[in-house]
């Protein structure tokens, strides 16, 4: 009786304690961080600036900017900033686009157009493959060091391949001819398709905005349809080839930002996982992993980079990479990211090691939190503050590194533009006699402001993340 009573009392007591504990609500660290960062004026301003910058960079093709590539060394070389409105291009690009749009409009009337068009493209594609193979064999035969017999030996040898490609091309062509003759309007459709193709090939957009991807191309067309040829005058001046600085700065933002962000993310992913694994495992794994970092630290990476770049820029390799969908920018990201992870790994490892011994981790373990929960709910948010501080140190580093490589002529290659390249071009034309300051100053300001913004945002985040700074 007494015991039962006691148990009842115990149960009541515990349920009361439980309900009491449940009333206490924690705030998730991320909400806490957001609430605190909102009060930080400089950080919010930086965040807004960076968001706007990102948006402007993304929307660059839609904005009524001049072409970043259009050169005019006669009339527009090294103009100081001005607002005089001039029509730039010999032919109206918008007009051209309108005509092209009309052709497409016409094509839509025929239901068979789509299939014929597809076949036409296939023919063109197979033809290119064939031509390339044929040129390759010509090239090989002209090179005397290769024995003819050697070429003819294997079944997959070049002449056999050329033959095969040619057969494929012929088959497609016959298919197209059949399709055309089957359709009542076949000839007209084919003619229209050919016209459209030649218009596309001669589109001035290629000369003014080369190397643009599908999305960029679509955005450019939108801009031509809605805004037309009108563009903002050279309010930031022009460079020594007569190109508009404003549009180059904005187009340059695209590459500079992407290099900064993607390369840093690469380094973040490598560094954090490497450091966390090393720190969490401890023991000989840790010792080995850190020794590897030590050795890599002692490698003068700039040399490695220069070697790598000379390798990547080598024509054969470059075209091989390109055919596999990897352009130089991607290689660039990976390379820079692969360099800057070392410090991150060391820092994260140190943090994880010291955090692992903190009582709150034991506390979490005691209440039965799983390993994953401990790492992500308890360790990662605590490491996050330091990681973000190093991120804000790394992004400027990466962007400066890109500028540095551009300075040495190893970075982004024209016609692509980046801020580093722009500043570098500006420096080239500085003379004691006359300084074309706008060439250095505007891209320099863009670079500095962005790095400023990143830095203040990072500081704000640090303060927001660091619980010890909470009430200071």
């Amino acid at each position: 009786m007494n015991i039962a009573d006691n148990q009842q009392n115990n149960r009541d007591e515990y349920s009361r304690l439980l309900s009491e504990v449940q009333k206490i609500r924690g705030i998730s660290i991320w909400r806490d961080v957001w609430m605190r960062i909102r009060k930080n004026g400089a950080a919010m301003l930086s965040l807004a600036f960076l968001l706007v910058l990102g948006l402007v960079a993304f929307l660059a093709p839609v904005l009524p900017l001049q072409s970043p590539q259009y050169q005019d060394m006669v009339k527009r070389q090294l103009l100081a900033p001005n607002v005089s409105q001039i029509s730039l291009y010999k032919t109206s690009v918008a007009e051209y686009q309108r005509e092209l749009d009309l052709l497409y409009e016409r094509s839509r009337k025929w239901s068979e157009y789509a299939s014929i068009s597809r076949l036409y493209d296939d023919v063109a594609k197979t033809r290119t493959i064939w031509i390339e193979a044929r040129d390759e064999i010509d090239h090989r035969f002209s090179n005397q060091s290769v024995e003819t017999s050697e070429i003819l030996q294997s079944d997959n040898s070049v002449p056999n391949r050329v033959q095969r490609y040619f057969e494929q091309f012929k088959a497609k062509r016959i298919q197209l001819q059949e399709q055309v003759s089957r359709s009542s309007d076949g000839q007209n459709i084919l003619k229209l398709k050919e016209t459209i193709e030649s218009w596309e090939a001669n589109h001035p957009i290629h000369a003014l905005w080369s190397n643009s991807g599908t999305l960029t191309r679509w955005m450019l067309e939108c801009r031509l349809r809605f805004v037309g040829d009108w563009c903002i005058p050279s309010v930031l001046g022009t460079d020594n080839l007569g190109r508009d600085v404003l549009s180059r700065v904005i187009w340059g933002a695209r590459i500079s930002l992407i290099v900064g962000i993607v390369a840093t993310l690469v380094s973040l992913v490598i560094g954090v996982s490497y450091g966390a694994i090393s720190g969490y495992c401890g023991g000989w794994v840790d010792a080995l992993m850190m020794r590897i970092v030590d050795v890599i630290y002692s490698v003068p990476f700039i040399f490695v980079v220069i070697f790598m770049i000379t390798i990547v820029k080598e024509e054969q390799l470059a075209s091989w990479l390109k055919s596999h969908g990897i352009d130089q920018i991607t290689v660039f990201f990976l390379m820079i990211g692969a360099i800057y992870w070392l410090t991150m790994a060391r820092v994260v490892r140190g943090q994880v090691i010291s955090l692992k011994q903190e009582p709150f981790v034991d506390a979490a373990r005691v209440v039965g939190a799983s390993r994953i929960r401990i790492v992500f709910q308890h360790l990662v948010p605590n490491v996050m503050g330091v990681v973000i501080v190093y991120l804000t140190l790394t992004i400027p580093q990466v962007m400066r590194f890109e500028a540095f490589l551009s300075f040495l002529g190893l970075g982004v290659e024209p016609p692509a533009v980046s801020w580093g390249l722009l500043v570098n071009e500006g420096i080239q034309v500085i003379t004691p006699v006359r300084t074309y300051w706008w060439l250095v100053v505007y891209p320099g300001i863009a670079l500095a402001l962005t790095l400023f913004g990143l830095s203040f945002l990072g500081d704000g985040l640090r303060d927001a993340f660091d619980p010890r700074m909470k009430n200071k």
Binding site: N9, R16, E20, R36, K39, K472
Partner: protein, 337 residues
């Protein structure tokens, strides 16, 4: 205690500005400290006991903290009116402090010698050799074996109890009038706790130092303190001679604290009682008695009206409490929380 007063704190108010609002950490506290006396300050975490003593030391971080009003008079001098230079001369010299966690309170980058001699050289202006002798002597007095050799070592080479001994040696090396000990034993093993407290008592007897002992351990209070102040939510809810407080608590909170302690002599089957509810959010104190929401004695009146301080004098001593209910000798009436 019938010795002269050495420290008088009058109506002290300390507040902090935080993200979530203004926190009144110490809200109108007054007490006197006599020479050679040990004054205990008890209360839950966040009741303002540490802030009170940091204010006495002049170590409230400003901003966000601020001593809003009141006075702290040491030997006829209001410490709050001193310049920071003058305060530096008193701090560590006449009023010393030891902290809760000896593991972090010593500088890990400096040797024990550096940290000990620095106080005496600075305050007493004695040369290095003399300061070193004195430091070794102090270490021996606090019971550190092989002191001349160990003085060259760094804090991480000492155990927790040893570090607290070093802290005590450091605090007492200028023979201060007042020693403030902020939970000096909380971070230590139970066996070490007793040793440290014993050491402090012994040194107090030798030197006649007055001690303010901050703790939440009523056992420590019972054995070491002459007077006790019970703090709750920034206010002193009760102040009395130790014996009287334990015999006859006048505030329900004090009573609650006493009930939550294991009594060895009592009924071995009796259950320990806890005080229900949580301490109040200091940014939003209730309009009336801060303890009212958790008090089984509280009624509407308690929720509305801040209780005034009741002062009862008897035989050259006095006691104070802050409760509207004259609950008198609660235990005698068989009161249970």
């Amino acid at each position: 205690m019938n010795t002269p007063q050495i420290l008088q704190v009058g109506n002290l108010q300390v507040g902090f500005r935080t993200d979530t609002g203004y926190v009144s950490a110490v809200n109108g506290i007054s007490f006197d400290l006599h020479e050679g006396e040990t004054l205990g300050i008890v209360g839950e975490s966040g009741s303002g006991k540490s802030v009170l003593n940091l204010a006495v030391m002049g170590l409230i971080p400003q901003p966000p903290g601020k001593v809003e009003s009141g006075e702290i008079v040491y030997r006829g001098q209001d410490l709050l009116s001193l310049s920071s230079n003058e305060m530096c001369r008193i701090r560590g010299n006449r009023i010393a402090m030891i902290f809760q966690d000896p593991m972090t309170a010593l500088n890990p980058y400096l040797t024990i010698e550096d940290q000990l001699t620095e106080v005496t050289r600075w305050h007493l202006g004695i040369p290095m050799s003399e300061a070193r002798n004195r430091a070794v002597e102090m270490l021996e007095r606090v019971g550190i074996p092989n002191a001349p050799k160990r003085i060259q070592e760094y804090p991480h080479q000492f155990s927790g109890g040893m570090r607290q001994r070093v802290m005590i040696a450091m605090a007492l090396s200028c023979k201060p009038d007042i020693l403030i000990a902020d939970e000096p034993t909380t971070a230590l093993d139970v066996t070490i706790q007793a040793q440290i407290l014993e050491l402090m008592c012994q040194l107090q007897e030798d030197e006649g130092t007055a001690i303010i002992l901050i703790t939440h351990d009523l056992g420590v209070v019972a054995h070491n303190c002459h007077r006790v102040i019970v703090m709750y939510a920034g206010r002193a809810v009760e102040q009395a001679e130790t014996e009287e407080l334990f015999r006859d608590p006048r505030h329900p909170y004090t009573l609650g604290l006493l009930h939550s302690v294991l009594n060895v002599q009592g009924d071995p089957k009796a259950r320990l009682q806890s005080i229900s509810g949580q301490p109040p959010d200091l940014t939003e104190l209730p309009p009336g008695c801060a303890f009212a929401p958790r008090c089984s004695y509280g009624d509407e009146e308690c929720n509305q009206q801040v209780p005034i301080l009741n002062r009862i004098k008897s035989e050259g001593t006095f006691r104070e409490h802050r409760c509207l209910k004259e609950i008198g000798c609660l235990r005698d009436k068989g009161f249970r929380l």
